[in-house]
Structures are given as C-alpha cells and as structure tokens.
C-alpha cells in the first residue's frame, strides 16, 4: 500500500466522506423506491397525489443534503502529496495480485541492481584509468578545442630513422640478428633470429611494436610465394606460449614519448629466451611443467618461470 502516514490526507474527513457516500447512496435508492412504489392508497385522488409529491420532495431534499455534505467533506480531505517519491511506479505497488505479476518487487530489485552497477563501474573506471593501456601520446578526454595544435610526432617518423634505430639494436646483442623489410607499405617487419632457439616476426607501426609471432628455429617463416608469413602460428605448444608472453610484453613496455627505449627493452627481454630449454624454473626448480619448459621471463629481473609458477 502507498505510504499513508506522510500524505496530507485528513483521515477524519476521509472516513466521514465515506459515510457520506453511503448516506447518499441510500437516499438515492429511497428516491427510486418511492417512484417504484407509486401512490399510496388514500381517500381522495388529491390526497394521494399530495402525499406522493411530499414524499418524493423529501427524498430529493435528503439527496441534495447528502450531496452537499459530501462535497464539503471532499474539499476537506485534501489531495495526496505531490512529492510522492515513486511517482507513477508507486502506483504499481497497489496491485494486489503479487503472485502472478510481482512487478513492483522486481522493479525495485532492478533499480537497486542498476544503482549498484553504476557505482561499481565508476569505481572500476577510476582504478583502470590509473593503469592506462593506450599507447598513443594523446591525453584522454581532451576536447578538440584544448588539444594542442601540434600532433604527436612519434607516430609519424621517417622510415630512415626507424631503420637506424633497428640497426643499432641489431648490433647490440651478438646472438640476436634482426632483419628489416617493408613488404606492405611503410610499416616495418622484423625477422629476429635468436641463436638457434627461435625466430620472431615483429610487425611494427612506425616505431611502435604492433604484433609478434614466435616460431621455432626449424619452422618456416615464409609463405609458399616467398613472402614473410605473419599470420600462421607455430606448430609447437611451447612457442605458442612464448608468443602469448611476447604479446603481454609488448603491452607492458610502454612509453609513448620515447619509443626507441621501448623497442630496446623489448629486445632485451626477448634475448633472455636464448636459454629457453636450458634454464630451470626459479620457483619450482624443475624443467618441465605439463610438458612445457619455463616460458615466462619476468619483466624486471628476466628470470625464468613456468607459466603456472610466476608470481
């Protein structure tokens, strides 16, 4: 039932008005009874007519009186408060058939749930914004008017600069060789060969690393027409796992303003895989876990862990 106590209804007048309605109903039914009964039996015709008219007038007066009384009382009753919090949905609660159509309780639950969801989403977005995954140099949410006129230059680097950076990194490590090619437009594709352990295909977008695929040393990295195959996965589970780890690494090493530092750190991390089959796991000490060697390399210390053993 609606909240009765807080509405501006005069309860006394309300009950009196209900009584007045009952009185009005009975006086109206008396009028129709009188009409139905017709004239009473008296000595003369005039006497009968007069008696009938007098009776009829009495009944109509009582109806009039009751109607006025009802009007007076209804003015006193007052309107229910307009500040009802639930507005129209509160009227749903007046539906007495709760079993078959529990609309109101479901409505309340849905409302509470959506409020909680909004609250949690707000908390989550606050936390996630602290660990931004965007790799562009634009600030988030900066309106078009406030955006600085000069676009970030790290996305539009001359290819010669990219070539220089890559060749410098190539010379850094003796056991790692990097071969650069541009078969599809301006984005560079690197074929990194690490000792006799594995080969990595790195697809770049100016100086940002976009995708990597890791394959075994004896697997073919070229398609049938001799082009670099950047899509097919390795046949070995261990290299499929290392591909997943490399994708995690390229998302981890981020610095939009200094992309060459990022590429350097990524290559340093990749180089730790030269001992993929020789290093035992630092945590459990074993070589094999579910048939896989320690494939995870910690991002800071470059220690080897099994995928299931890493902290």
């Amino acid at each position: 039932m609606a909240d009765v106590l807080s509405v501006g209804v005069n309860l006394e007048a309300f009950s009196q008005a209900i009584n007045a309605i009952q009185a009005l109903r009975s006086s109206v039914s008396r009028v129709f009874d009188c009409l139905k009964d017709g004239m009473r039996n008296k000595e003369t015709l005039e006497g009968r007519e007069k008696a009938f008219i007098a009776h009829f007038q009495d009944n109509l007066h009582s109806v009039n009186r009751d109607l006025n009384e009802l009007e007076r009382l209804s003015n006193l009753v007052g309107k229910p408060s307009e500040n009802h919090p639930l507005h129209n949905s509160g009227l749903l609660s007046l539906d007495p058939v709760q079993d078959k159509t529990p609309l109101y309780s479901q409505l309340l639950q849905a409302y509470k749930w959506s409020n909680k969801l909004q609250y949690h989403a707000g908390l989550a977005s606050g936390l996630l914004n602290q660990q931004s995954l965007k790799r562009s140099a634009n600030q988030m949410g900066v309106s078009a008017k406030r955006r600085p006129k000069a676009q970030p230059t790290t996305l539009v680097l001359p290819p010669q600069y990219v070539d220089d950076v890559i060749s410098r990194i190539d010379r850094m490590f003796p056991e790692m060789s990097i071969h650069l090619s541009r078969p599809n437009g301006t984005s560079a594709m690197l074929l990194v060969t690490l000792g006799k352990v594995l080969k990595v295909i790195v697809v770049m977008r100016s100086l940002f690393i976009d995708r990597t695929i890791v394959k075994g040393y004896n697997e073919s990295v070229y398609t049938e027409d001799g082009k670099l195959d950047i899509w097919s996965k390795s046949n070995y589970q261990v290299f499929q796992k290392v591909t997943d780890h490399a994708t995690t690494a390229l998302l981890h090493y981020q610095l939009p303003q200094m992309p060459d530092v990022v590429v350097r750190s990524f290559m340093t991390w990749l180089r730790s895989y030269i001992k993929l089959f020789q290093a035992p796991c630092q945590r459990c000490g074993k070589f094999l876990q579910d048939g896989l060697p320690p494939t995870w390399r910690d991002f800071r210390t470059l220690e080897a862990f099994h995928d299931t053993c890493r902290q």
Binding site: K196, V197, N218, Y236, V238, F239, Q278, G291
Partner: protein
C-alpha cells in the same frame, strides 16, 4: 626434426617383452599422452664383398641400410664410425645393382615396431625389437620437437625420461657429445638406432647360452 634420444628399456623381471611394453604404454597414457599411429625402423647389414678386399686382407667393413617410417621417402646408409648418407628410397634398388661390392649378411635384418605417442611437444615411440620371429628387446625413442641443438635440452629430455622410465633412464647418447652446437638431424637418430641394434644383437647370445 627435433633432438631425439633412443634408448633401450630392459625387460622387467619375470615378465615377457610384450608385458613390459604394455606397462610402459600404460604409464605413458596415464601421463596424458595420446596415441598417434605406429612406427617402424628397420636395419639391414651388408658387408664388403671379398673380391674388393685389398691384398693385405683387411677386414670387411659393415654397412647398415636403414629405413624410418618417420621419413617414408628416405633411406639411410651408414658405416659404424663413419658418415651417414641420407638418400631417397631408390637407394634400395641401387644396392641390388651393387651386389658385387656389398653382400647382404644372411638373417641380419633387425627391426623395431610399435606405437607413437604425442605428449605436448614430445613424441615418444615404444617399440619391440625383433630379429626374425623372435622379440629381442624394447626400444624407446623420445623426440623433443622445438629444440634443434642437442646440448641445449638434454636436462629437459632427461627430466621427461625420468618421469616415465624411472630408474631405467639412460645416459646422454654419444652423438650429443660429438656435435655441440650443430643442428640435430635425422642422421643422428639413425646412428643411435644402429648402436642400439648392435647392442641388442650382442646381448641376445648370453641368455640363449644360459638356457641351454
């Protein structure tokens, strides 16, 4: 071709060859390996014909011609301590033509047949070595596909071998010691099989003498 280790599993006490093979395969299946068909490796021996020997009467060299179902279009020919030749299957026909120089030793064909199992990146082959009608021993071959340098992954292979061979785990094959950083190839596997077959050939003579 990944690094491969071929070893012999001694027959369990009081059990036949068949039963030991069954024990091994059951252990492998418990580990989680999947059966993936069968394999066969066979070896025929030829010795250099007497007519080609020099006047000093030097001993004839033994040549082994082997086939491996893993490389169905290839044929391997090797000397005991010498080089290993990988050729295609027409080599067998060539041997017939070279009858004058190489004669096949009678009843020398030895082969191993069994099932292949795949566990993660490991390929395990357990086979019964037979010479003629009799079963002579059990061969176990484990190949680790992703790695191609033998010295790199011996510890890893050893750990895997221990998990299902237990105390019968072999030592490092001699071919691993010879080639430190060279890429492992099928010829190295065939050399290991040749050594295994020779060992089994010599072995069998002892128990037969004991029974008599």
């Amino acid at each position: 071709m990944g690094v491969t280790c071929v070893s012999q599993m001694p027959v369990a006490e009081g059990k036949s060859v068949q039963q030991t093979v069954e024990l091994l395969t059951r252990k492998l299946e418990m580990l989680g390996a999947e059966k993936q068909g069968t394999f066969c490796v066979d070896c025929e021996t030829y010795h250099t014909a007497a007519s080609t020997l020099g006047s000093q009467g030097q001993a004839g060299k033994l040549m082994y011609v082997m086939h491996n179902s893993e490389y169905p279009l290839s044929c391997f020919a090797l000397f005991e301590n010498g080089p290993c030749l990988s050729a295609d299957t027409n080599f067998d026909v060539l041997m017939v033509k070279l009858k004058g120089f190489f004669q096949s030793a009678k009843a020398s064909k030895i082969e191993t047949r069994g099932t292949r199992y795949q566990y993660c990146d490991f390929l395990v082959k357990v086979g019964t070595v037979t010479m003629g009608p009799s079963a002579r021993g059990i061969s176990v071959e484990v190949e680790y596909g992703p790695c191609v340098v033998a010295s790199d992954c011996w510890s890893l292979l050893l750990e895997f071998l221990q998990s299902f061979l237990g105390s019968h785990t072999p030592g490092a094959p001699t071919v691993f010691g010879n080639r430190h950083d060279a890429v492992y190839g099928p010829a190295d596997t065939m050399v290991q099989y040749m050594e295994l077959f020779n060992k089994i050939r010599k072995q069998q003579q002892v128990p037969v003498a004991g029974i008599r």
